[in-house]
């Protein structure tokens, strides 16, 4: 009998990995899948979920995860940083040439051979849908490049140190806030895949969405009142992903928007024209 983890169990492992420091977007989904598979393998041997996760994370901890992420980043970015210097030096014409030259042509993939050897569980009964053949590196240079709200909504809090309106102490504000009425459409700031849809209740980000754009960039949209997409869905730049709200640690209806580059939150203002 093969066990398949339920949503709650997957979420538990996802949170555990986040706690251990998994924050590099191109690895998040597959490391989660890997650890779910390991856990299922343990449970197939007759262990309970908590015994299984305990033994899985005993072998693989914070240090191993950190090393794995660092190694992946260093192996995949050696060339690209050099590329970027060239791009800066030779301006736009070079970018166009570079894009034509470096984008590998897409080829047809054999979709028939899905799950030939599923990790211990059977997935035949599960609905699965393809979310795209484009790889993270094929969409290489598509950083977020617009405001997350259409219309001229005022930015009420910028990136950097500020007095937190709920916690009443000085805190780093790692995104930007736009004051807007509940129900204002929130749009994806570049093409990507929805990697997270979560509701943290009355604390933190409330209802929030994370979109992964390429190997470097993710964006986060929080305090939403409603979500218009699903986890795993592909979205286009400008597509409505949710509606402005007042959920989580929020005092007035607004959108808190973050841009995350290689796991580090950066100033979103650098990624749109004011």
């Amino acid at each position: 009998m093969s066990i398949q983890l339920n949503e709650e169990q997957v979420l538990f492992i996802e949170n555990k990995l986040e706690e251990l420091g998994l924050n590099y977007a191109p690895l998040q989904n597959e490391i989660l899948d890997h650890f779910c598979c390991l856990t299922e393998e343990e449970m197939d041997k007759g262990h309970s979920f908590s015994q299984a996760t305990q033994s899985v994370f005993e072998i693989f901890g914070k240090d191993e995860l950190k090393k794995l992420q660092e190694q992946t980043i260093s192996l995949t970015h050696q060339k690209s940083s050099r590329m970027k210097n060239i791009v800066f030096a030779f301006s736009t014409s070079f970018i166009i040439l570079g894009t034509l030259f470096f984008f590998p042509k897409e080829e047809k993939i054999n979709v028939n051979k899905v799950n030939k050897q599923p990790c211990p569980h059977k997935v035949t009964a599960q609905p699965f849908h393809e979310i795209g053949v484009k790889t993270a590196y094929e969409i290489f240079d598509e950083p977020p490049s617009m405001r997350p709200l259409n219309g001229n909504f005022k930015m009420t809090s910028g990136f950097g140190q500020r007095m937190h309106p709920v916690h009443k102490r000085k805190k780093m504000h790692l995104g930007v806030d736009f004051k807007a009425p509940i129900g204002t459409p929130v749009v994806a700031t570049s093409d990507g895949v929805v990697v997270k849809v979560k509701d943290s209740g009355n604390t933190g980000y409330g209802i929030h969405i994370v979109i992964q754009h390429d190997d470097e960039y993710k964006t986060m949209y929080s305090h939403l009142s409603e979500v218009k997409i699903e986890k795993g869905q592909k979205v286009k730049k400008g597509e409505v992903v949710g509606l402005v709200g007042n959920t989580g640690a929020s005092t007035i209806p607004h959108l808190h928007y973050e841009v995350i580059k290689n796991g580090k939150k950066v100033n979103p203002k650098d990624y749109y024209t004011p």
Binding site: Q4, L5, N6, E7, V10, P26, L27, N29, E30, I31, L32, D33, H34, C36, C37, L38, F60, E64, K67, L68, Q71, T72, L75, T76, K79, P104, E106, E107, I109, N110, V111, K113, V114, N115, K116, Q117, P118, C119, V123, Q126, P127, F128, H129, E130, I131, G132, V133, T135, A136, Y137, E138, V193, V195, G232
Partner: protein, 112 residues
């Protein structure tokens, strides 16, 4: 069990060969496959596998496809045309390496 260091140097060759045969695999599946066909002698760790897979992708030797499996996303790897070529070259190179190792490790025959 073989040491990590020996496995690491040959990991790209192993991954390319497996993908050439299986067409499409995900990370965990690769670790299980290697374990089973090497009869448990070789263990590919997560720490070695994923950085190598991402490097292969970055270099255009493999492409990926993400598929929703139950409540989570699974990333499948498959060879590109460039990857297929690299597989043939790497295998040939490795065969040569094995032959060379044979010659080096052969006990010295003394003629008296």
């Amino acid at each position: 069990m073989l040491s990590n260091e020996l496995t690491k140097g040959t990991l790209q060759t192993i991954i390319l060969k497996l993908l050439a045969e299986e067409q499409k695999m995900y990370g965990y599946e690769i670790t299980q496959h290697v374990k089973s066909i090497s009869e448990g002698k070789m263990v590919v760790t997560e720490g070695a596998l994923y950085p190598t897979l991402h490097k292969l992708e970055k270099n255009g030797l493999v492409r990926t496809q993400q598929v929703m499996i139950g409540k989570r996303m699974r990333k499948y790897y498959s060879l590109t045309a460039k990857g297929k070529k690299a597989n043939v070259n790497k295998l040939a190179e490795f065969q040569e390496f094995i032959q060379a190792m044979h010659l080096i490790l052969k006990p010295k025959t003394t003629t008296s």
